[in-house]
């Protein structure tokens, strides 16, 4: 009998476990836990709002985000960018465009950057980690060799600080939004690879794997149908958390001048980077996109943390 269960007994069944909870699947149970977690609900509310803006933002925008109307109207002069007014809720940006419209329209690009770069990292990382994990689980000389070669490659990527890695990639591809997405994605590849491999190796030591093996199930089949699905939980949690860091890192790359050189298409990270020279006179130009990024990242982080807690087997009963 495990000590942990004993302790729960000893403390007079603090958690008052219900009998009928047995047999509920990991995911059903996890979603139930997420729904009951207030910070997860806050995170989800933020994300729903964000996605909504990303979808219908362009419809709500009062002006075209690329229209340099301030310059046309002659209200923009060096050292003077008009602030909020009745017509322009958040004022003009440094090129005389309506800041509020840019903020609304920019949500879509920001979401896109986050999702695409996370997907790049997830796909490549899960592929490497999955193959390595399966190879390690299969064992044998070939399996171990494949595993160790793949993991050395991942170690190599990990040996580079993330921003330097992103910068090296950007140096190869030139500055553009695609570059930013690829660079940010590649940075998260080793994380996903290690996570999935680690989980698969841990799972392959499980009793149910032994049971399946003893029943004569083929080892490659065990890896695919038993080990892999049971190892996905940490990867999904990490993907949610990576969405947050990807948006922040993309902003950093934009700040370093590696983002889209064409700044007419609004994107929060780019807007924030562009606003830096005007911080003294018009701090709002930086603050609004920054707050947007912070709140969105917070939404993803809250949800990711809640998922992590919900899926942690240690915290389950």
């Amino acid at each position: 009998m495990s000590t942990k269960t004993d302790k729960i007994d000893a403390l007079g069944e603090l958690s008052a476990v219900k009998q009928d909870e047995h047999g509920v699947s990991l995911w059903t149970e996890a979603f139930r836990r997420v729904r009951r977690n207030p910070s997860a609900l806050v995170g989800m509310a933020i994300l729903v709002l964000f996605v909504l803006v990303a979808i219908i933002g362009p419809l709500l925008a009062p002006y075209s985000p690329t229209d340099t109307m301030g310059i046309r109207e002659g209200v923009i002069r060096p050292g003077s960018i008009p602030g909020p007014s009745a017509e322009h809720w958040l004022g003009y940006d440094h090129q005389g465009r309506d800041q509020f419209s840019r903020l609304l329209v920019g949500a879509r690009q920001t979401l896109l950057v986050g999702i695409v770069s996370t997907l790049i990292g997830l796909t490549v990382g899960a592929l490497i980690g999955g193959v390595a994990g399966a190879a390690a689980g299969l064992g044998g000389r070939v399996g171990r060799a494949v595993d160790s070669v793949l993991m050395r490659i991942v170690d190599m990527l990990l040996a580079l600080p993330s921003l330097l890695l992103a910068v090296s990639i950007a140096a190869l591809l030139g500055a553009s939004l695609t570059t930013v997405m690829i660079a940010v994605g590649v940075v998260s590849v080793p994380v996903f690879a290690r996570l999935l491999r680690g989980a698969m190796v841990a799972q392959s030591g499980g009793d149910y794997v032994l049971a399946a093996t003893s029943l004569g199930v083929k080892r490659s089949r065990i890896a695919l149908t038993h080990i892999l699905p049971n190892s996905l939980a940490p990867v999904i949690v990490q993907a949610t958390l990576t969405l947050a860091t990807a948006i922040i890192e993309a902003a950093a790359l934009s700040f370093l001048g590696l983002g889209n050189p064409d700044t007419s298409t609004p994107e929060w990270g780019l807007m924030l980077a562009d606003a830096q020279p005007y911080l003294d006179g018009r701090p709002g130009l930086a603050i609004f996109p920054a707050v947007g990024i912070i709140i969105t990242a917070l939404g993803f982080t809250l949800l990711g943390e809640a998922l992590r807690e919900a899926l942690d087997p240690k915290l389950r009963k």
């Binding site: 000590t3 302790k7 050395r152 490659i153 170690d155 190599m156 040996a159 580079l160 600080p161 993330s162 921003l163 330097l164 910068v167 090296s168 950007a170 140096a171 190869l172 030139g174 947050a244 922040i248 902003a251 950093a252 700040f255 370093l256 001048g257 590696l258 924030l272 830096q276 911080l279 003294d280 701090p283 930086a286 920054a290 990024i293 912070i294 709140i295 990242a297 917070l298 982080t301 809250l302 943390e305």
Partner: protein
């Protein structure tokens, strides 16, 4: 212990070897090839051909790689395009600044993070706990360069409490020995110089510390909570030990294991933040220099710095593993 370190150092060789291949390929794949990297966009076709020949780019790949490795091992990293100085010289001049900044940030992050995380765990559910959990969540989500600008705007430009840029007031005419400005000031007994250098470190240090601080608070809290539920803490209490002994020897010592791992990872990752922070505060470390190198497409500098930094990063992680095994006797056996 020595055998453990030697074995870990040997394990580094394949990683660094692979990294060198990666960098070699990277250098050759740069837009326009290395000749553009050296000449910039200005080179005429004849000049390009000349450089290709000089660099031996017409020879077989393997020989080229051998020559590349030879230069690497001799620490010959070439010459910067923008400053026309040896990359190694540039590095040695600027690295101390980054090290000072990184150490400052780590002292802030560890010095505040571990006590805060510990208290949050001990007073679980209290206001302090919620505040530090919430604060650390936000801390992770604020872009470092934005925080740096905000700190600069508030504490330096409006309140004039701290200097807004640089590593030291140049009018002090401080003596240079190691290029670690604080250390130099202490060694030469130029107290005002040391203090001034320290003063310049405060704001960038705080900005750089924000993310590590947030992560250390979280991991400390989680780790202490986990240890608090362990049987041996109850045993220690049942022996009637003082709060101090229980905290130090029984709770923190066990809780430190995951914290040390995370600190190691963070120390390596601090460099990314340093690039951003140094840029905002015009702090002359390798970060700001790298930023310029990116802007100028100064590839020799980029490549040389990446190689040295990767070695440092790997060494920091080795240090973490060693300290880990010092704390946990169970790791030593393996």
């Amino acid at each position: 212990m020595i055998r453990f370190i030697v074995r870990r150092l040997l394990q580094l060789i394949p990683t660094l070897f692979g990294l060198s291949i990666l960098l070699f390929i990277w250098l050759r794949r740069l837009p326009g090839g290395p000749e553009t990297a050296i000449l910039g966009e200005r080179g005429t076709p004849e000049l390009r051909a000349q450089i290709r020949k000089n660099l031996g780019l017409d020879e077989p790949l393997l020989i080229q790689y051998g020559r590349f490795m030879k230069r690497m091992l001799q620490l010959d990293l070439g010459t910067s395009i923008s400053t026309k100085r040896e990359v190694m010289t540039e590095f040695l001049e600027r690295f101390p600044g980054t090290v000072e900044l990184t150490i400052t940030a780590m002292i802030i992050a560890i010095g505040v993070g571990i006590p805060l995380g510990y208290l949050a765990a001990r007073r679980r559910g209290s206001f302090l706990d919620s505040a530090s959990v919430g604060g650390s969540l936000i801390g992770i989500c604020v872009p470092v360069f934005f925080l740096a600008y905000v700190l600069k705007a508030i504490f330096s430009e409006n309140l004039h409490l701290f200097p807004s840029s640089g590593r030291q007031d140049p009018t002090l005419g401080a003596t240079r020995i190691t290029n670690f400005f604080v250390l130099d000031g202490l060694m030469t007994r130029e107290w005002d110089a040391a203090l001034d250098a320290l003063w310049h470190l405060v704001l960038p240090g705080i900005a750089l510390a924000s993310i590590p601080l947030a992560i250390i608070v979280r991991i400390t809290r989680a780790s202490v909570l986990e240890v608090l539920s362990e049987d041996y803490v109850r045993t220690a209490q049942s022996k009637g030990l003082t709060e101090r002994t229980i905290r130090g020897r029984h709770i923190l010592r066990n809780a430190m294991l995951p914290i040390v791992t995370v600190i190691g990872l963070l120390t390596g990752g601090l460099l990314s933040g340093a690039v951003l922070t140094e840029t905002v505060f015009a702090f002359s470390g390798i970060g700001a220099f790298l930023y310029e190198a990116i802007a100028n497409r100064d590839y020799p500098v980029l490549m040389g710095f990446i190689m040295i930094i990767a070695v440092f990063y790997v060494l920091v992680n080795l240090l973490v593993d060693v300290s880990y095994s010092l704390i946990d006797p169970r790791v030593r056996v393996r």
